[in-house]
Symmetry: C2
Subunit: 363 residues, 2 copies
């Protein structure tokens, strides 16, 4: 299991940008002073050099390896964040007169739907808006005529997660920004996956897009060069100057994940962290998890207290104990502890110990 | 004047990503280990924290200060590189039935024209393609009905630069990627300026866009959220997770520029560097500058030799003397020395000394 950084000072529960492995910080810091003994900073090397090509190649290869992707899938590192993908996906996949099926299970899904409507028709197959997105809709059906089915695998803000891949013959498109690489799954079942890097892949400023090639080339609109996935595939994610340093940090983080056993090993750690925190929540009536039990996210654990004064006190206790990023999103309130891959088990232990103490004192 | 880094090992003539000040590397490296004594890395802090808001605010303020922008102009830090601006500009400013005037004076201008044609009509007012873009067209006229006039202030690849702002009443839009902040000019005359950061502003992975607000809100197409400048203005460049570290490096670089006297002071250094290199080229017949004298770029100095064998030899000499990034772009051949703001005078001195030695030996 991974251990907390030596300083043992800060427990970082940020929802993203978020904690990365200590080794990654050390290597990235060093590369800014002298990259691979070149006498140059990683910030001043040309992206068309062999030096950077090796970084990009390794990052792509590691993504393919960790996700066990087949040869039909390409990996791209792109600019713009997942919010750019909200419109780039329909721009590339959906003609004006066609319909794509979307699941509305949280803030990000809602935003994705809004952008898709600019390019074609959206069939919202189900929504959990009726209960503030505190559960994942079930029992809906996806029309077989849908151009694709889009969903968010993990809802960072609301704290829900889809624990199985939906059964459908329609091409699957998923926003995996906040849980990619955290759990084993058959990634080859997806036609398109996208994820902002700033949670489980690396630092903010780059996007990973995984594309099954057969889904491309089927729209008739004229695409701007930078929006055309096919163009990025042909140019190996270097159509223009890539976010060099952000890609480098991804490469380092992916290398760390591989060295620690890949997704199947990190999944065990993630399961242990989530179990400890949810078990603690369930055992202490002073805290109340907000989402349906079967849809609980292993990445973002959302909970509240019924007494606002106590919430303030607990937040202050967290701060005093070196815990940051624990305050809930403004739209939900309460607390949110994000337990991404690089968060050490010890940080969850520290939090749950504090919760138990606090419950005893205030119970 | 600025001096070369202590190690005195590498002279970095890269065309971008390119040399940045030594202090910036040191500060950025430190912030990756511990940002502002928070115990957190700059890579793991939330972008919605006061910590990062201060960084963004300072970066925006420094741009405004250095460029002496009036209150009508907004500064944005956006994803996507200048290549995204090639289409984002016409998407925001040009209706389908309207015409924008474009100057075709190099590789980047040509690409900008291609993207603009997706959104409206392009009136190419002049081109220097007839002579491989080795000069800046003059004497053309810009129709007063043009929605805007777009040009590239400095041609990174071909080594030409526009030394005056064109006289026109049409709103000016400029790609200043490779010479922004290098020369004093009245930036308030522009309605829109964009620049990839990786030359004079900071590190790759972020774009600066300066917008005069009155130019917005005049197109009738539906814009994706991430493509709408107005949306980014309202959200203070934080519509989604910004490229946190890239913005931080910009802030550090802009701070350095201000500490060294701002644009007017760096311009003196840039003038001195360019004069030394061009004077040397003009005095040594073995080297041949490729562009029209009056259009020479102070940022990217392009030259060739007539003997390909000697070119190889000189390149090897440069390498042996710690000079990197001196090889010309594949489309032009020969050599290109990029003399961006952070390149010390000593690097140009070292290069010209080597050129003189080489000419003596081979002349």
């Amino acid at each position: 299991m991974l251990t907390l950084n030596d300083k043992n000072l800060v427990h970082n529960f940020n929802s993203g940008p978020s904690v990365l492995p200590k080794e990654v910080f050390e290597q990235a810091s060093q590369a800014i002073l002298d990259f691979n003994n070149t006498g140059l900073s990683i910030l001043e090397i040309g992206h068309r050099t062999a030096l950077f090509q090796e970084v990009m190649d390794e990052a792509v290869l590691l993504m393919k390896e960790l996700m066990k992707l087949d040869d039909e899938h390409e990996v791209l590192f792109l600019h713009g964040g997942a919010t750019t993908q909200f419109f780039q996906v329909p721009m590339n996949l959906l003609n004006e007169n066609e319909t794509a099926a979307y699941l509305d299970c949280g803030t990000w899904g809602t935003k994705a739907i809004k952008e898709a409507k600019i390019f074609g028709n959206v069939d919202m197959v189900a929504s959990s808006k009726d209960k503030n997105y505190t559960y994942i809709p079930k029992g809906y059906s996806i029309p077989s005529t849908s151009k694709y089915f889009h969903y968010t695998t993990n809802n960072t803000i609301e704290g829900t997660q889809m624990h199985a891949i939906p059964e459908t013959k329609v091409p699957l498109v998923a926003d995996m920004s906040s849980d990619i690489l955290s759990t084993s799954m058959d990634f080859n079942r997806f036609s398109l996956i996208y994820a902002g890097a700033q949670k489980n892949i690396g630092a903010a400023g780059v996007n990973v897009v995984v594309i099954k090639k057969d889904i491309l080339g089927k729209v008739n609109r004229k695409l701007p060069s930078m929006m055309d996935y096919q163009n990025h595939i042909e140019n190996g994610s270097m159509l223009n100057t890539p976010p060099v340093f952000a890609v480098y940090v991804c490469m380092l983080t992916l290398r760390w994940l591989k060295q620690h056993g890949g997704i199947s090993e990190i999944e065990k750690l993630n399961d242990a962290k989530a179990k400890l925190l949810y078990d603690t929540l369930d055992s202490l009536p002073i805290f109340r998890p907000t989402v349906a039990k079967e849809d609980r996210s292993k990445m973002n654990v959302v909970f509240v207290m019924d007494n606002p004064e106590l919430e303030k006190e607990f937040l202050a206790e967290c701060k005093a104990n070196g815990m940051v990023g624990i305050k809930g999103h403004r739209s939900v309130g309460g607390f949110r502890a994000s337990l991404y891959n690089a968060l050490p088990f010890e940080s969850v232990k520290a939090l749950t110990d504090l919760m138990r103490d606090f419950a005893t004192k205030n119970g």
